[in-house]
Amino acid sequence: MSETRRMGRPECDEVLNELEELKAEELNSGEVLGALTGGSKRHAVGCEDCRSAVDDFVTTREALWPMRAMALEAGPWFAARVMADVRAAENEIEEKKEGLWISVRRLAPRLVAFAALLLVLGGTWAMELRRRESATGQVEVRQAEGLFENAPSAQLNDDILATAAEGTRP
């Protein structure tokens, strides 16, 4: 982390760490200095940076002190109100879930009618398709049969060729 307090010496860091640990009651700079441990106190007295850090610390604490007296407190009814809110929110969620189920039930007859219509249309279409397929199948079979019936047999051709060959022989 690049953030530092730019005080430099480890003794200064120690003073600052101790300042952060001080109880809120130690208010004026004399009391703050008195609350530091021996080494830190001696250092803080002689170090200009630390003295100004202690001054800033005390000035800020004194400035913010009145805010403590104005802190807001929860009323005795607060927890009960939170729990009532929790129950209301849960009921709302339940109602939403039930609302979804109610609308599904309300739509059920329409859904059934729609499904029946789809079934009839699909069935009709499938039957029609099957009828058409079987009709085209019969035509194809008939055409194929005709082809084989009219085709000359290989034996007959051989006979013709044999007869022709016999006729040309000396």
Binding site: T59, A71, L72, A79
Partner: protein, 208 residues
């Protein structure tokens, strides 16, 4: 003002976390009572965190409610690798930032934002203690603090308020913001420098 640990101050952090883990396990199995106990345990700090960012009581209440609703519906996905509190405060901070992003302005606290109960508290403080301030003075002070914090970006501001106003530790803030401890310390240090410089400049300008 809410204490950092609103309930069971005698409990150690470990014991509290173990108790939370058990409650989370039960809540994950659908035990609403366990979740309600979690709400009661953590509502104070969720309010404190949201209050440090948002200020208007209505916004803070709305956000806190939203946070717990979100937590309830996503608790089954929470794997307990981090503490439940860290996870919850992280949701809180993100919800607050989302709201601010939607509005694009940081709302200040106005007198109308004070509940009757708060106004009464302030009035009785005024009557009772020498440190007490009246409501308008409180609001003035709050607006002044807001002006001083205006020089910070949302993250730095949140960190500073969590640290100085709500009393979170650096480790807790690191967990909530998803940063490492060193980065939080550095950013706090710089944020303090900027705020202190601003305060000094204003004081010099005012001739104090």
């Amino acid at each position: 003002m809410p204490e950092p640990a609103t309930e069971g101050r005698a409990e150690t952090g470990e014991v509290r976390q173990e108790a939370d883990r058990e409650l989370v396990r039960r809540a994950q199995q659908g035990d609403k009572q366990a979740f309600e106990v979690l709400v009661r345990k953590h509502q104070g700090r969720v309010f404190a965190v949201a209050g440090g960012i948002l200020h208007s009581r209505e916004d803070v209440e709305d956000i806190a409610q939203q946070v717990f609703l979100k937590a309830y519906f996503s608790i089954k996905r929470f794997d307990q690798r981090a503490a439940f509190s860290t996870w919850l405060y992280k949701i809180t901070v993100n919800e607050c930032w989302d709201l601010l992003r939607k509005r694009k302005v940081r709302p200040l606290m106005y007198e109308a934002d004070l509940s009757e109960e708060q106004a009464h508290t302030y009035q009785s403080r005024e009557a009772g203690g020498e440190d007490a301030l009246d409501v308008s003075q409180q609001l003035e002070t709050r607006q002044q603090v807001e002006q001083w914090l205006d020089c910070l970006d949302e993250k730095d501001r949140t960190m500073l308020v969590l640290k100085e106003v709500q009393g979170f530790t650096v480790e807790e803030i690191a967990g909530i913001m998803g940063l490492n401890g060193n980065t939080v310390k550095v950013r706090l240090f710089r944020a303090r420098q900027r705020v202190a410089e601003r305060i000094r400049r204003k004081k010099r300008a005012a001739g104090v």
